[in-house]
């Protein structure tokens, strides 16, 4: 079981790195979906036994992140005719290099972080922190609103992975509530992206900062 958890967490880190380096939005959405499905297995693998709450949480999260979110994002993508991120604020090679640095920092920090409970795997905290950071980075460093929505989902994935440390202590309701929040947020953002695109013919969010009242 230890090996399974470790492999899963390394898969998580690799998908994060792929997201940092991929410019095709369609591929990025698929990678995000794979990440979500893999995370669905985590509650089960990390605790060795298949409890009811672990099953519910895993299945719910896998269904939401592996099927519903990708479907929503693909639909938005189809309607707005955007295929790839052309000019990100931070390029792909710098993103990968910064990512490697942050990964090293996450490992260093994860080794020192005092935890109230025994972590199921020494990789769990670094992988969770790195996924969290990848989400924030995608929101900050990419222009297209779709990638930013994806970054938000990845951010939630990181929180989910970190939550595995305390899965026995945290009530199921809290986790399910977080999932519901994310679902509503992505749903709203999917519609919003469509409307932004219809109004302005693009979804470059950094151009929206120039909007102000009374501008010509």
């Amino acid at each position: 079981m230890q090996n399974g958890t470790g492999s899963l967490l390394i898969f998580l880190i690799l998908t994060d790195l792929l997201l940092l380096g991929s410019s095709r939005l369609r591929n990025a959405i698929r990678i995000g979906a794979a990440q979500g499905v893999a995370l669905g297995l985590l509650p089960w693998l990390a605790h060795g036994q298949l409890t009811g709450s672990a099953l519910l949480l895993g299945a719910g999260s896998a269904a939401l992140k592996g099927v519903v979110f990708p479907a929503l994002l693909h639909r938005a993508l189809r309607e707005i005719h955007v295929r790839r991120e052309i000019e990100p604020l931070i390029g792909y090679i710098p993103s990968l290099l910064i990512g490697t640095g942050v990964l090293a920092a996450a490992f260093a920090f994860g080794a020192r972080l005092p935890l109230p409970w025994e972590s199921p795997s020494p990789l769990l905290v670094p992988a969770g922190l790195f996924t969290l950071w990848t989400g924030v980075f995608l929101i900050m460093a990419r222009r297209k609103a779709i990638t930013q929505v994806l970054g938000y989902i990845v951010l939630e994935n990181g929180i989910f992975a970190l939550g595995m440390v305390v899965v026995e202590a945290m009530p199921l309701l809290v986790e399910l509530g977080v999932l519901l929040d994310v679902f509503v947020a992505v749903f709203v953002m999917g519609i919003l992206v469509f409307h932004i695109n219809r109004e302005f013919d693009h979804i470059d969010s950094d151009q929206l900062t120039a909007l102000k009242e009374g501008a010509p």
């Binding site: 380096g21 490697t100 490992f107 080794a111 020494p122």
Partner: protein, 300 residues
């Protein structure tokens, strides 16, 4: 140290010309052709070594030295490169750094010989070769450092002996993927460079050796085959082949793994297209990141 460790360099020198032919035959199989005969590598070398050469008047001794130094560097690399659990002939602490620098020195002389001709095409190839080496060399060093930390030893032979006996599976997979990309890049294989291209503008390695002929070209071809072998041994050592009894069966398994890697290369060359030159650094940085992740995993 056993007699088997001296067999490996001899085996490498003898079998290396087979590797490019093997790759070509796999590609031919995919394309529905029959490919070159198995002995083509040896026939070419025999032909080239009997020829008298001619060099341009603008060139100096650097031009003649390039292929020879490159070949000598690879021979020296064979002296420290183990094949799986079979120890190298001359292992010492820190020889993995020497291995990286030997590859670098060989590249430096190839590049200098290309620049020495004064041809603009060769200069372009030399520039590209060095540009990609900037990304490939850190990846190689980081990967080797990960192996050194995992096995707690500073010499390639104990590193690979320890790795053959046991090691983390994720580390093997990460470094295996990273080293495979490096193997393709260093040997000028398809996602990075096309060894069969006929257009100087798109060549990288081939354009640097356009002016060489006869014995020099023979050393270049043998040298590139040896490079396939040395980097192949780097990859083959990651496989868990340590359980085999006796040095001879280990040698055979290692050589078999190198041949399998050549077949894999042929398949990759057949089914993928070359990436754009601008994207090559991204590929190599990806390999470097895989190696770096491998290194981070050893810090647990």
């Amino acid at each position: 140290m056993s007699a088997a460790s001296w067999i490996h360099p001899v085996l490498a020198l003898a079998l290396a010309p087979l590797l490019p032919v093997l790759i070509q035959r796999v590609k031919a199989l995919f394309a529905g052709r029959c490919g070159p005969p198995w002995g083509q590598g040896y026939i070419d070398l025999w032909k080239l070594f009997r020829k008298g050469g001619i060099a341009s008047r603008t060139t100096t001794w650097v031009f003649r030295a390039g292929p020879l130094v490159n070949f000598a560097c690879l021979l020296a690399a064979l002296a420290v490169m183990p094949l799986g659990a079979v120890s190298a002939p001359l292992p010492f602490d820190g020889d993995w750094v020497l291995l990286a620098y030997l590859l670098g020195l060989g590249r430096f002389f190839t590049v200098t010989a290309a620049l020495d001709t004064g041809s603009s095409f060769e200069g372009m190839g030399a520039s590209r070769e060095v540009q990609f080496a900037v990304f490939a060399e850190p990846a190689l060093l980081i990967g080797l450092a990960a192996l050194a930390r995992e096995t707690q030893s500073l010499s390639l032979s104990p590193i690979y002996a320890g790795l053959a006996a046991g090691g983390e599976l994720p580390l093997r997979i990460l470094l295996g993927a990273g080293f495979f990309v490096l193997y393709l890049a260093e040997n000028c294989r398809i996602p990075v460079d096309d060894p069969a291209t006929h257009l100087e503008l798109t060549m990288i390695h081939e354009v640097m050796v356009l002016d060489h002929g006869a014995v020099d070209l023979g050393f270049i071809q043998w040298g590139s085959a040896l490079k396939l072998w040395v980097l192949g041994a780097l990859w083959a050592g990651l496989l868990p082949l340590g359980a085999l009894p006796g040095p001879l069966s280990r040698l055979a398994a290692g050589a078999g793994a190198i041949l399998v890697l050549a077949i894999l290369t042929g398949i990759v060359e057949s089914v993928t297209a070359r990436v754009r030159l601008l994207r090559v650094p991204q590929l190599l940085v990806g390999a470097g990141v895989l190696c770096a992740l491998g290194l981070l995993l050893t810090f647990r």
